[in-house]
């Protein structure tokens, strides 16, 4: 049986080298304090995100930059899948489907906007992912498919076809893609949990922590959506929240949905009762508090990633740490450049980082 050293030795060194090229906190801080968007981009020169600066210099198009960053993240998953043996490779592939799903959901939303709401989407279709990592799915064809059946046909052979064929017509009727997206999310997580079970014990323990945080973040975001937009009856919230052993219990989530009492959530996230360290917690607005919890969870994920980097180097933890840190960094960069573009005040920007 191959040793963890032989399985993870190369990828551990490779990914640690990549992580060492990530932007430092100091650089991100300088970018956040930059007086203009162009000056924020200048700080990316000579870094691994130089492509973003070049793209902006060539096109002036922030959406094109975001599309490049999304591709970068997606390609990181594709790279990682090829570097680890089974069953870790299957798990990473299952996790990569999250990034793939985001791209597909984006395309489905565009289709919905064009065909169900009659909106013009021509200013957004240019940014659809055109790489080869989606297999046979052509997102350009998807947004132009005339009917939901045609959309499902384009997605044939992918895990999304069945759900789309079941829910897309309904979405057109109800005027909301929420049900379809929730089902897609549920399918993604179920698949992820199945591949998690296949991991050897040591890798599984590490992966469970990351998956748990991902589930929590997903549930908090859905909670925000449910409360803000969808006004679902409280007894039906369960179908939109994912239940996972190490995550925030769905009872606390349901309680948070029904009332403004988020103490259960806070306790689950922070491990203590009452005290919260984040700005926004004192706000009376429960949406702000939920956002604050989401922010805390992201920080917990980064801390978990750093713990993996400092720990045993020959496990799936290194790969998950790399992907988590990359995701968080790209999110921060997107947030900063958008804030600069829209002239957001620094204090407000910081609340999103």
């Amino acid at each position: 049986m191959p040793s963890p050293l032989s399985e993870y030795g190369y990828i551990s060194a490779k990914l640690k080298a990549r992580i060492s090229t990530f932007l430092s906190e100091e650089t991100l801080e300088k970018a956040a304090q930059a007086k203009s968007l162009q000056e924020a981009f200048l700080l990316l020169r000579g870094t691994y995100l130089e492509i973003a600066e070049s793209r902006y210099a060539a096109t002036g198009d922030l959406k094109a930059v975001e599309a490049d960053l999304a591709s970068l993240e997606f390609d990181a998953y594709s790279f990682s899948i090829n570097q680890v043996p089974e069953p870790a490779s299957s798990f990473i592939r299952a996790k990569a489907r999250g990034a793939e799903l985001d791209l597909v959901k984006g395309a489905l939303r565009l289709w919905f906007d064009a065909h169900a709401r009659g909106r013009v989407i021509d200013d957004r279709t240019g940014y659809l992912y055109k790489g080869r990592s989606l297999g046979s799915i052509d997102l350009g064809d998807l947004v132009n498919a005339p009917t939901p059946a045609d959309v499902a046909a384009i997605l044939a052979g992918s895990p999304y076809a069945l759900i789309v064929s079941e829910f897309l017509t309904q979405a057109v009727t109800t005027g909301s893609v929420f049900e379809m997206e929730s089902s897609l999310d549920r399918e993604y997580f179920e698949n992820l949990f199945q591949s998690l079970e296949q991991l050897p014990l040591r890798d599984r323990k590490v992966a469970e922590r990351f998956v748990g945080i991902d589930v929590d973040i997903h549930n908090i975001i859905n909670l925000i959506r449910l409360r803000s937009f969808n006004k679902i009856a409280s007894d039906r919230t369960g179908r939109y929240l994912i239940d996972f052993g190490t995550a925030i219990p769905t009872s606390a989530l349901s309680q948070a949905y029904e009332s403004d009492d988020l103490s259960g959530l806070a306790a689950a996230v922070l491990g203590v009762r009452g005290n919260a360290m984040e700005a926004g917690w004192d706000s009376r607005d429960s949406k702000a508090r939920l956002s604050s919890l989401e922010h805390m969870l992201r920080r917990i994920r980064v801390a978990e990633a750093r713990k993996c980097l400092a720990g045993h180097p020959f496990s799936i933890g290194i790969v998950l740490a790399y992907l988590s840190l990359l995701s968080e960094q790209l999110r921060n960069v997107r947030t900063i450049v958008n804030a600069k573009y829209f002239g957001l005040a620094n204090e407000r920007l910081r609340s999103f980082l």
Partner: protein, 681 residues
């Protein structure tokens, strides 16, 4: 320069009203590595020099000046080519930069840039829409077919032929420009209407219908003079794409033009901010009372006259200046900073030294020795004139590129020199691209490694090569010892010189051991020198090693730093001595044998090339060299140059850092950082 640059400590007292002039003069000279005197009686706490005052009562913080300077630097890098501002030729800190105006100026530039970027984005949007149309048109394969109307059910594109009233046509085209659509009007109107072909995405059908209705579109007749086929559409798309790309290039030129017009303004801004920043930094090291200021710091001894004259001139002689002699401690106990002055050609090796550490002040600057040792090691490991030529050319190209980009050229120079060393070694060994095609000036390395009988030379087999590298290693180590001894003599640390394992005692053991080893080898590995010689030769210095700790202890005892001697203290001496013996005997042996890797890599170099030639011969069964054989040789040479070059470079560095530096190098120095326009930050 053999030693680090001698430094002198300057202390000066001036009138506070002259502080600004003196500070400006010191900045112009650019030699002072300032030290803030922390304790001067009568000075109020926190009474460093105030910030600059741009307007009465309004002080400007240095951090704000720095921030603005960095912003200006950022904008200067946006220019094509990047603008490198030069230091202010003539400055005075009385001229304070107007930071508000500069901030406003920079804000204006940022706005102009943003506006240009918005223009680029608009063009980019149009381009993306056209590209989507083009992609779909190609997918439909409509390039060579006449499109039948209505559009094919499987197509995502809609083609329409018709006409709009002439007075509506330009607005009609403008509206469709906001979609992924193409309107191709005919050359001329007919009957008050402009015939047109429209290509749109079927997904936009709702919006398209609304526009068609609003602008009184009439579907076309078959006998229209306007043909309008799919290929026409593609052609028109390409024309428009080219037009937009040209407009994007215009935008890029406009962007460059922005900096061409603003470049000198930005450079001036930078110079004034830089001067203000450095002036503030200089004066922040002064300690001031209401009437008197004190300044101090280190200056290269060669600049003493220039600095003293400059201070006196700036304050019209109203000053008192003191210099501490070289070797005297500074009032704050600080060590002098270290400046290493070497020629530009030695810059890569100086970088290698400073990457390891800054040598202690007053010690030998090892740069020249590192240069000789490094290149010799590299040559011995990579001795091939052909491969060396490749490295030389690569280094020359990188150097040219660095000069063009005005970026660092350290690595380029190092590769260039390594190439030269490899060429020299290749000539000595008669090796060119892995073949002994010319007579060796020293010995035929290939012949020796491949076991071919030599023609009477002194180097006949691999053991001789190993012997050469061991002797080379010994020369390097002995040089290290010698450097250490010179440093110890210069710093008058006599006891360390005599008794330390890198001092005379250790050197004695090393040389005696080396002599004994040669004796043993010379007697066919059968006899050691007589015991009567071994005992004094090794015994005496070994005992001297043991005296180091007791002597140091007695010195400390005299100074009252330690208590009376106990059994534990004596046991400690014995342990230190035993460990020292172990370090000297086994460590020095290991250090010497470590140089065998030089032979190992050289042999590997030859062996790899021999192997590639054999593989090439196997791929050429008819004799000579087939195409496959040539390919194998080319790839083999590339692989060897890359792999062996990297290995040789790294191993040469390792031998310098570990074997060579560990004999003498004390990296506790502090780099010389004068406040000057030439300083990096």
């Amino acid at each position: 320069m053999m030693f680090t640059v001698p430094m002198e400590f300057l202390s000066a007292a001036i009138l506070s009203k002259d502080a600004q002039a003196v500070s400006d003069e010191l900045l112009r000279i650019g030699s002072l590595d300032a030290v803030t005197v922390k304790s001067v009686s009568g000075v109020r706490a926190g009474s460093s020099a105030p910030g600059l005052r741009s307007t009465p009562g309004k002080s400007v913080e240095m951090s704000r000046i720095q921030e603005l300077r960095r912003r200006v630097e950022g904008f200067l890098t946006l220019a094509n080519p990047p603008i490198r501002p030069s230091d202010p030729a003539d400055f005075s800190s009385e001229t304070v930069p107007d930071v508000e105006a500069i901030e406003k100026n920079l804000g204006g530039i940022a706005s102009e840039i943003q506006s240009l970027r918005e223009g680029q984005k608009d063009l980019q949007d149009k381009l993306l829409r056209l590209e989507e149309l083009r992609r779909q048109a190609e997918v439909q394969g409509s390039r060579d077919t006449v499109v039948r109307l209505p559009s094919s059910a499987s197509s995502v594109l809609s083609y329409r032929r018709g006409s709009v009233p002439e007075e509506n046509s330009s607005r009609f085209e403008r509206e469709f420009g906001t979609l992924a659509a193409l309107t191709i009007p005919a050359q001329s109107a007919s009957g008050g209407r402009v015939p047109m072909m429209i290509v749109t995405m079927k997904r936009d059908e709702g919006r398209v219908q609304a526009l068609l209705s609003r602008y009184e579109w009439e579907e076309g007749q078959e006998d229209h003079s306007f043909a309008g086929t799919g290929s026409e559409a593609l052609k028109e798309i390409d024309v428009r794409r080219q037009r937009i790309k040209a407009q994007l290039e215009d935008k890029a030129r406009e962007f460059d033009g922005l900096f061409a017009s603003r470049g000198s303004n930005l450079a001036d801004m930078w110079a004034s901010l830089r001067a203000a920043e450095l002036s503030m930094r200089m004066r922040s090291t002064f300690v001031m009372t209401d009437s008197v200021s004190f300044l101090s710091g280190w200056i290269p001894a060669s600049d003493r006259g220039k600095v003293e004259e400059g201070i006196r001139k700036a304050c019209a002689g109203r000053c008192h200046i003191e210099w501490l002699a070289v070797g005297q401690a500074a009032p704050d106990g600080s060590e002098p900073p270290v400046e290493m002055k070497n020629s530009k050609g030695l810059a890569p090796f100086q970088t290698l030294v400073t990457n390891f550490g800054i040598p202690r002040y007053g010690t030998i600057d090892p740069t020249v020795f590192v240069a000789v040792a490094y290149l010799s090691m590299f040559g011995l490991m990579f001795g091939d004139a052909g491969h060396g030529l490749v490295l030389l050319l690569a280094g020359a190209l990188l150097l040219k590129r660095a000069k063009r980009r005005r970026s660092g050229d350290t690595l380029a120079r190092l590769i260039l020199y390594c190439g030269g060393a490899a060429i020299v070694a290749g000539l000595l060994f008669g090796s060119v691209f892995g073949r002994p095609i010319m007579p060796a000036l020293w010995f035929d390395y290939h012949g020796v490694v491949n076991g071919e009988p030599s023609s009477g030379g002194s180097v006949r087999d691999i053991y001789d090569i190993l012997g050469i590298t061991i002797k080379f290693g010994m020369a390097v180590l002995i040089t290290g010892f010698a450097i250490n001894w010179v440093n110890l003599v210069k710093s008058r640390r006599w006891k360390t010189l005599l008794f330390d394992k890198a001092g005379l005692a250790g050197g004695w053991i090393y040389l005696a051991g080396a002599w004994m080893a040669f004796y043993f080898v010379g007697h066919a590995y059968k006899a050691l020198p007589p015991v009567g010689l071994i005992v004094p030769l090794l015994g005496v210095p070994t005992i001297l090693l043991g005296l180091k700790e007791p002597i140091e202890y007695l010195d400390k005892r005299k100074r009252g730093e330690v208590g009376p001697m106990t059994l534990g203290t004596i046991l400690g001496f014995v342990m230190e001595w035993l460990v020292g013996i172990l370090e000297v005997y086994s460590g020095y042996l290991a250090n010497t044998l470590s140089f065998m890797r030089v032979a190992g890599l050289g042999i590997a170099h030859v062996s790899l090339m021999t192997a590639f030639f054999q593989i090439a011969a196997m791929a050429s069964p008819k004799g000579g060299l087939s195409v496959a054989g040539i390919l194998i040789l080319v790839l083999g040479n590339i692989l060897v140059i890359a792999l062996e070059g990297l290995s040789a470079g790294i191993q040469a560095l390792r031998l310098n850092y570990y074997e060579f530096f560990s004999r003498y190098f004390n990296g506790t120095g502090r780099a010389y950082k004068p406040i000057s326009f030439r300083s990096a930050e």
